[in-house]
């Protein structure tokens, strides 16, 4: 029942905002739905035996971890939206409020799906639900971004579907009756013809990789993240990109049981390193803060791919980084949204001196940047460190060194933009916007930041167990 409620409540919320005529009251539904969802997630996670609806739909440790991250991030965005949308009263926010909730529902469905087709359906739905939200600003730039997002992501998701068909067909070729249930596939994977399985994996890597924003399929990402409102950016980077990762993890769970696991490892590491490298290059000289965050997302999605490829202890780091990356992206995009409102610009040439114009926001943007780039005491330090250590201890020192070097370049590149935006002198000749920091614009990202700080220093035992369990689910593979 919990699972059903978690999926249905956001849908009911979407229906509610559709019916509410008032532009100012409508956003109030978001925090209500978010809180209910969060409570349900807490209940679902605290059950000793997680709910089992059917072979298709149940909650395992990996799903739990994703669900937790989605729900916490959505809560932050929902509370933030209430005040953010007050500044955007000129725009009708019905579609935005609906899209966010439909997306939450679909993301929840993705976390509980153990059927590759159903998972695909959920992920595709998140893409569609978010498309109108990227276009929230209704100008030439955002329409261009939306078109690229829609076309490239649809193409990617179509290829992933072809991959799923290949996967099913590989069972027909073997003479088995085809099924797309994850656990059954895992059991039979060693008997499947490697050629079909490999092709299926590549198609799904390209497909879900497009959704994650792995290079070279990342080209839509800076545009969409750059033109979408900050809170939509947070959901894209911490929600939708992770849905793509979840899809990749599921096919990984199937493929790694086979004898040709080295092929999959090497492919993932190669793809990941390439993404990190491309991101690092474009992070240097990036003047637009939201586009910068998009490349940072490409970088960290690359890191996820590398961690998957490394396997072993790196998987623990990956699962930890899932929380770390998701929440840190929330901090960064929400405070970037504030900066954008405060300066009416998201370019470092005009948006300078956030610390003076909006001190809380400036400080959070800086702290979020430090967290994202792996500075202690925040959680990503622990998770990235775990991935490095795994690379060196598992006999891939070159990979480890390359990742360390590229992350360093990315850190320096980002700091070239973050430092002037935070510490610079506010431009004098520009008109002052009516933006002022209110509790609801500061508290949500601050809460995420505090969480990142606390669990960076002291990981609560239940969370530690959950992360270990999730990593173990992927590791069984060999």
């Amino acid at each position: 029942m919990l699972i059903l409620f978690m999926i249905m409540i956001p849908l009911a919320g979407a229906l509610a905002v559709w019916l509410i005529p008032s532009n100012s009251r409508r956003p109030l539904v978001l925090p209500v739905v978010a809180s209910l969802h969060l409570v349900l997630v807490a209940l679902a996670l605290s059950q000793p035996l997680p709910e089992y609806l059917s072979a298709w739909i149940h909650l395992d440790a990996v799903g739990k971890l994703f669900l937790l991250e989605f729900s916490v991030l959505f809560s932050a965005c929902a509370w933030y939206a209430v005040n953010y949308l007050k500044y955007r009263m000129e725009r009708d926010n019905r579609v935005l409020c609906m899209g966010l909730q439909v997306c939450l529902s679909a993301m929840t469905l993705a976390t509980v799906s153990h059927h590759m087709g159903l998972l695909w359906l959920a992920i595709e739905t998140t893409t569609l639900a978010m498309a109108p939200l990227v276009y929230f600003n209704r100008n030439a730039r955002s329409i261009e971004a939306t078109w690229k997002y829609m076309l490239i992501c649809s193409l990617g998701i179509a290829l992933a579907f072809l991959g799923i068909l290949f996967l099913a067909y590989s069972m027909v070729v073997t003479g088995l009756s085809p099924t797309l249930v994850l656990e059954v596939l895992q059991g039979q994977a060693p008997h499947l013809p490697p050629a079909w399985l490999k092709t299926a994996f590549i198609l799904m890597l390209v497909g879900y990789g497009t959704k994650m924003g792995l290079a070279p399929m990342h080209t839509w990402k800076p545009d969409a993240y750059g033109e979408a409102p900050g809170l939509v950016g947070a959901m894209l980077a911490g929600g939708l990109a992770n849905c793509g990762l979840l899809g990749l993890i599921r096919i990984y769970q199937i493929c790694m049981v086979t004898d040709s696991h080295t092929f999959y490892s090497v492919t993932l590491i190669g793809m990941g390193l390439f993404s990190i490298a491309i991101a690092a290059i474009f992070l240097v000289h990036q003047t637009d803060i939201k586009r910068m965050l998009a490349y940072s997302s490409v970088e960290h999605m690359g890191l996820f791919a590398v961690a998957l490829g490394l396997g072993g202890k790196a998987l623990y780091g990956l699962m930890l980084h899932l929380i770390g990356n998701g929440l840190a992206k929330g901090v960064l995009f929400l405070s970037a949204g504030n900066i954008h409102r405060a300066f009416a610009s998201k370019n470092r040439e005009s948006a300078r001196g956030a610390l003076r114009r909006a001190p809380w926001t400036g400080a959070m943007f800086l702290a979020g940047f430090l967290a994202m780039t792996g500075s202690p005491p925040f959680l990503p330090f622990a998770s990235e460190f775990a991935i490095f250590r795994a690379a060196f201890s598992q006999g891939r020192p070159v990979t480890g060194a390359l990742v360390a070097l590229l992350l360093m370049v990315a850190f320096l590149g980002m700091s070239l933009t973050v430092v002037p935006v935070v510490f610079g002198d506010p431009p004098k000749n520009r008109e002052r916007t009516r933006f002022s920091e209110t509790a609801l614009l500061v508290a949500p990202p601050l809460a995420l930041l505090v969480i990142l700080g606390i669990i960076g220093i002291w990981l609560p035992e239940p969370l530690y167990q959950l992360v270990k369990e999730a990593a173990a689910l992927l590791e069984v593979a060999r």
Binding site: L121, P132, Y135, A140, I143, K148, L151, L155, L180
Partner: protein, 214 residues
């Protein structure tokens, strides 16, 4: 599995080339609709008429044969600027690329380790050829609406491959995939109208505001 389905698949391949070669968007969309109708007939031709295949047939006929073309033609009416935008490499270049892709598809399909009962069928080569030509149409066209037609062609190719699995795929997933496709095209249609309003053209190569400035 019979000869009729193979002949229909040949027709699908011809429509692919027609879409690549035509400079009239309405022709491309109508050809797309015809392809959708053929696709809808295939499940009941390949497998006997049962409730499962019948539902798919009705669904596909309605979605790919009627509703999606209607959506696209409606969008086109609103934004017809009478532009004739040459695709990348011109129309003849496109037809040539489509022909090469079709040949490659046949060659590649012959190498695939297919199940014995599928070896002599046109399904796999036709699916691969349609996917490839769809990809060519998608990437070479400059008009947003023609890019959508390319995307639909690619989806049709995937559907053809799915015919091998019709009996084993749960109906829910197939219906869901089709619903998602409709919703996707619907959203794309809205965006195209907005592009037309914003740029007074649906030439996507004019959309160049977003790029890395160095």
């Amino acid at each position: 599995m019979n000869a009729a389905s193979d002949q229909l698949l040949v027709l699908v391949l011809l429509i692919n080339i027609l879409i690549l070669g035509t400079h009239r968007t309405t022709v491309a969309i109508r050809a797309m609709a015809a392809q959708g109708v053929i696709l809808g007939l295939l499940p009941i031709l390949l497998y006997s008429i049962q409730s499962h295949t019948l539902i798919i047939t009705i669904f596909v006929l309605l979605a790919k044969g009627l509703f999606i073309p209607w959506l696209l033609l409606g969008a086109l009416k609103k934004i017809d600027f009478g532009e004739d935008l040459q695709p990348l490499f011109g129309y003849s270049g496109n037809i040539l690329a489509g022909a090469v892709a079709t040949m490659l598809a046949f060659f590649f399909a012959a190498q695939l380790p297919l199940a014995p009962q599928h070896r002599d069928l046109l399904i796999v080569p036709a699916a691969l050829a349609t996917i490839l030509t769809g990809f060519i149409a998608l990437t070479s066209r400059r008009k947003a609406i023609n890019q959508v037609v390319g995307y639909l062609m690619l989806e049709n190719g995937i559907f053809i491959f799915g015919l091998l699995l019709t009996e084993s795929m749960p109906l829910m997933v197939e219906a869901g995939a089709l619903l998602d496709l409709i919703a996707g095209i619907f959203v794309m249609g809205i965006i195209i109208k907005q592009i037309g309003r914003e740029f007074s053209s649906i030439d996507t190569s004019r959309m160049t505001a977003l790029r890395e400035v160095e």
